[in-house]
Symmetry: C3
Subunit: 327 residues, 3 copies
């Protein structure tokens, strides 16, 4: 599935080639990262964080152009990539093909990609169809970054989730992570679980019976000796949880409305939930949220979900700089 | 209603704090300005005008990012803010939530704002609901500029209107302003009247009987000893008018189509109207216009409405620079 | 039809006025170019190509703002102009009036243009109505570049087509160009034919009987002593063709579906077609394509249509720099 693209931009424009793990590479799937690669990305992301804190923006990618190609709306992810490029001094071509489109003229994704790479240095692609990013990467000579392709992958979300844990807790090894909510359909939690498995973590899955983590994911992690346990309520595992990662339980997933009503409150985080949680726990959410975390929790210092957005900026800055050979 | 936000960006990045009246502040309502504040804004706007005339653009806000968040279409205002930021060397994230939206996923405005301020340094917000900007400002740590919230406020429009009078006539004190058209529903004229009341002006209101200036506005200005008079036709006051500010009379406001037909021509400005006007009068309009000023008037040097757009650029440049602590 | 606009930006900001053929000028129609003008444009485009190849972007238009105003979707053209401006260090205000619009408030095109030129230094306009660009140029003090107006003109497409031939073959004089497909309704091929007529070329028209090149175009070229021949199939002329320019034959053009079915395969380029073509022929297409060139042809080195997109970038960079007096 992952395009090897060893041919892309083979010549580094500057000295040190050793760290250039991702120069000219596509970022398509969490499966392409090993622990070494993650540590490199997070090291660069941390430098980005410090630079932004000190000077706001800087000219590392001055003169470079990002084509930010979104075939479905995602203000959050789109804005994050635009900001990342702009804080690095680069420029952006924003293309929202949803309403404004050559697609209406029937053009194929490969043709659109081959056109855009005539203009841009790197392409970020959001697409409703699984595998769209891999397809794009096959045709592109320039690096492609997957910003979500249907029920497929959204690797930069998983990277920022993991980076949030690292920055907030200072480590990932030894941490107990509880994934809460809809674990069956949530692309986000599947990818995060896979990345977590590269570290010595313990994972709790808390979900309604019909929304359990797919066995395929559990088996993969089992093969890596990750300690995993499944629950239907949070109470039991909350006190031992270092990271509580919340996702939405959607009414539409339930055939029986009574079944939904009977479980839903168990998956809403309130100030009472936080009372039972550890003082140094962090509460995460991929956002947007719609009621699954009460707004009264926002001012709790353990509520990390808005900081999580900010960490996303640094991770995306790191990825853009890396694939363009500047970090 | 106005968020005090005394906590926002409390430390100035450079020396002189004296002039930093608006550093880190939100711009939400015309009610937050006194005469001193207006003079400061217009002084900076005038400097912006001279800089643009001399060099076009400059790097005062290099590295800063504006999130330009529009929940309803307004090409004019949106473009003006984008240009203002770009002429100051800054970058923009343009978000048109109308068609392209997390809102469709049900996210609240505070959550959207708290996300965007992770990426941007200042937020400009246009929203169909009254009070949306104040709500946004309550949650934002970064400055919020209201670019129009429903029937609420559109303070930068009122500021550019007043600045136009100042630049065109050289003063505001002592000027006779005639507001013409729909004075009942026009957010623009309400805000302008409030700002004018800080100066020694005389104001004429000319409107159909059913579209008169609300008594609430008139009483407020009365309390400030502003001389105000109401009319149903322009003829009587035109010769003594220094500033003729035209707004549209919409057919939809009338229950009776005959009533509309009988008054409408009295509110259309033609070359004949201009013949009866003073040589040094200026003709203003917030735009867009649809027939209420005949296009034959455009080449009259007194037609100031396109220059008014340009003054809007300088006012918005001034505001952006000020809230970011650079002016 | 062409606005003379001799008044626009009459003073050059720097020394050499000799080469400033297009400074302050509108780019509205292919009819405004003579051979001298084309050679100048292509000379600048070639310099742009070399600069992009060497440094990617540079600051020739730093501080300048392009208003990119699209009243109908065209991702390709829009992205190309944005990239052109950004690679020259300038900024862009992107306005897609399709869905996001003052137009809904009934504003006229001249008013929109006069507003935008308060903010921007140059306006690129795409509009569904023929003559829209000329109308805009009449009212604008700043240069207007026509990016396609209905069935009217799309001069930058014709320029990039011609520039592609020049860069790929090293010359235009003496070349045999075969235009294939829908020659009746294709704005692209009409404009290209007019530009080609300034050079010593031979032109073959290959189309179904009902989609022949309009006699008006043929007569114009005849008056310039251009050798032209008409065909219904490609076979005969393919071996002597230097440039094969393909356009789409749309089913909707045919009253009779059988008539369509009987001709369509004759207008699809496949690897077999390419076998019969010369080794140094180039295959062009304005894109987007939908089946009229088989994707198997893409890897043929003679397939020039993606390079054609890239040449479009250089031509648009050249035009922007020239009308702004910087080349």
């Amino acid at each position: 599935m992952i395009h090897p693209n060893s041919e892309k931009n083979p010549h580094l424009p500057f000295g040190d080639q050793q760290n250039a793990l991702f120069y000219g590479k596509d970022i398509l799937s969490v499966n392409q990262f090993d622990r070494n690669g993650l540590e490199y990305i997070f090291g660069v992301a941390h430098e980005m964080r410090e630079m932004v804190s000190r000077v706001g923006s800087f000219d590392l990618l001055k003169g470079k152009i990002l084509a930010n190609l979104f075939y479905e709306p995602s203000t959050r992810t789109s804005s994050s990539f635009i900001a990342a490029m702009e804080r690095l001094g680069g420029s952006v071509i924003s293309i929202n093909e949803v309403q404004y489109s050559s697609v209406s003229k029937g053009e194929s994704l490969p043709d659109t990609i081959r056109t855009l790479e005539c203009y841009a240095d790197v392409i970020v692609l959001r697409h409703p169809e699984t595998g769209a990013s891999s397809l794009a990467a096959q045709y592109a000579k320039k690096p492609v970054i997957n910003a979500g392709d249907g029920v497929g992958e959204h690797p930069t979300q998983a990277l920022l989730d993991l980076y949030t844990i690292l920055e907030e807790l200072g480590k990932v090894d030894g941490v107990t992570v509880t994934l809460l909510g809809d674990l069956k359909y949530g692309r986000t939690v599947h990818s995060l679980a896979r990345l977590l498995s590269l570290f010595g973590v313990r994972i709790n899955y808390v979900s309604p019976g019909i929304l359990k983590m797919p066995s395929e994911v559990i088996e993969t992690l089992e093969a890596q000796n990750i300690e995993q346990m499944e629950f239907e309520t949070l109470d039991e595992v909350l006190p031992s949880t270092d990271v509580l990662y919340v996702t939405r339980v959607q009414k539409e997933r339930f055939d029986d409305i009574d079944a939904y009503e009977s479980v839903k409150s168990a998956y809403v985080i309130t100030p009472d939930t936080m009372k039972a949680a550890r003082d140094d726990m962090i509460l995460m959410h991929p956002l947007p949220r719609v009621g699954e975390i009460s707004r009264e929790v926002d001012d709790d210092p353990r509520a990390a979900y808005f900081r999580q957005m900010e960490y996303g900026l640094y991770v995306r800055m790191a990825l853009l700089a890396m694939v363009l050979g500047k970090a």
